[in-house]
Symmetry: C2
Subunit: 351 residues, 2 copies
């Protein structure tokens, strides 16, 4: 073995959802938004210039647009290359106590990957048998807490009083609430920022703003915590947000009615899909997200997953303890979901 | 003090060059290219779509375009959000031996910032009195080596046989050659990749391809090293390259004659500026980059820096040991450089 290989960092990388490229597929496996970004975002594309120059390292225009929209001051907002970048920076910045950080055993599968990468000790806390987070379990010594709310892949939204009880009981550490899916029916913990300066709330443009392809995420918190994030970011890469991200991100924030309308459409479609799935013998926690985490009463999830794939319908299946009989189904357009439900009807009938 | 503040990572962030926003300035302080990207890049802008979907995490189209252009296989190319992102990933991936890594005392000012951030021990190696890298000084036990070639802010290109002697003497560790400026007259160490599997060569679209605003950088190396970089990248953020970066990066590679023509223009302008500066009493190492690192025989650099700023001409001044009498002057358009030289003539006359 070459000597230098010994000192290469060994990591088990995160496996992203399959990104099939063939045309004509129904893609319900990566929680993307079925609607395009606002037409006002697309109009801005051709107007982007100044590509020869470095983008503003402070990303001022986009930070200000988000801060104005959220009613915060601009020193309370940090932006990054998707919420993955923002969360990775949070792990690096805030979780340095040596005590284990806590997060649910079933949640976004990147949390343990970052903990390993940055050598942050961690303990996973089991969800209850209904896949709910139990706030009492987070009231013990720890080095920080991260919860997704709504949680993924369960889709369950934890009421804000329970979120608050976790934050209130852990004021010695940073508590991160990852709200990637909050715009589809949850309520943001942003309203708790005024009371708890140990709170970081993270959101993204990838789901509700139909901009997964642009990679924009942001954190909201006290100016002290946001400055700490910026200091680490400037030590890593001063210019993470390219010029198109800044310009198009701002344009998205400015078209609020489009944003709200598409979120409403997805919620409406989701409720229809829930009704159909129930009638077909599926059970699932009540989703407040753009996906449904469902198990069939008699047919194994993996069978349905493979049969759907044969029909060019991609849904997500996790071969993991506790959830290996569940499917995560992203909410697409009405037309896509009708085809999906029709597929299920045919498949379950023929079985 | 709040308890959680104790566990926030303390870093001294890198300070990027000033980015003044007022119109009408001559901006020669951040080594940006004065020419816009290829018109073929700009044409592609309006055609970008699929923003609602995640970009290809493997960035296949852009990786293949670079690999084809460079005559490498696609598993020998890693792309990131500017070469800063690529280099940060390299530090995290390759410098884990516990021995100090080596780099020049005068070089890109981000190297020690990353070493601090990732807790990599380091030693800086003094340049000689002519600001040259002394290869012999890199032939001792170390945890890895990074050199910029041409070096910044000196602009000096080290001949490839000297680069090779460093790589050959250090086959137990990874040697990174950071070639941000190589397209302006240097020769890439890429030709050494076939012989040395401990070599990583890093280049960027920010300078010679006029795309600082897009944030695209890349590393070339053996498939083993590139896989290690990708594993770490996937553990950090699977989707770092947004859709516009992928599409426009590829378009830039495809317009090779535009790329070569603009590089030639800058080299021609640079040689004219060298002649003028010499006549005005400046001395400087021979630059193979898009900047000149110059000191005046009698007038302090800081005085010139401040006087230029008053005239809306921004050049870079580093108040650091050994180089605090030097100015780093980016090569702009012919017109910009004529104005700059005229400013110098007036200023030096009046003094």
């Amino acid at each position: 073995m070459k000597a230098y290989l010994k000192n290469i960092r060994q990591v088990v990388p995160y496996t992203p959802g399959e990104q099939p490229k063939q045309p004509g597929i129904i893609k319900l496996n990566t929680n993307e938004n079925p609607y395009p970004p606002s037409p006002k975002v697309m109009e801005k594309l051709c107007q982007i210039d100044r590509l020869r120059m470095y983008p503003d390292p402070a990303v001022t225009e986009l930070v200000e647009a988000i801060a104005d929209y959220k009613g915060l001051s601009k020193d309370q907002v940090f932006v990054g290359v998707g919420s993955d970048d923002v969360l990775a920076m949070c792990f690096m910045t805030f979780f340095n106590s040596g005590l284990p950080i806590l997060f649910p055993d079933i949640t976004y599968s990147f949390y343990d990957v970052w903990a390993e990468l940055f050598r942050v000790p961690f303990q996973t806390v089991p969800l209850d048998q209904d896949f709910k987070i139990v706030p009492e379990d987070y009231k013990r010594p720890n080095g920080g807490i991260i919860i997704a709310n709504p949680n993924a892949p369960t889709g369950i939204f934890m009421p804000l009083d329970e979120v608050e009880s976790i934050i209130a009981a852990n004021q010695e550490v940073i508590v991160i609430v990852d709200e990637a899916y909050v715009d589809f029916g949850g309520t943001s913990a942003q309203c708790l920022l005024a009371r708890y300066d140990n709170l970081i709330v993270v959101q993204t443009f990838s789901k509700s703003r139909s901009m997964a392809g642009m990679r924009i995420g942001y954190a909201m918190g006290s100016s002290v915590l946001i400055k700490a994030l910026n200091d680490v970011k400037y030590s890593f890469n001063s210019y993470t947000m390219n010029q198109p991200s800044i310009v198009l991100g701002k344009a998205s924030i400015e078209d609020d009615s489009y944003f709200k309308n598409t979120c409403e459409s997805i919620k409406k479609t989701r409720e229809w899909v829930k009704k159909e799935l129930r009638e077909l013998g599926f059970r699932f926690p009540d989703s407040k997200t753009n996906f449904i985490f469902a198990a069939h009463e008699s047919v194994p999830a993996e069978d349905i997953f493979l049969a759907a794939k044969k029909e060019n319908i991609f849904i997500r299946y996790f071969k993991k303890p506790r959830i290996d009989n569940y499917l995560r189904i992203t909410i697409g357009t009405d037309e896509e979901m009708k085809k999906f439900i029709q597929f299920l009807k045919n498949y379950l009938d023929e079985r």
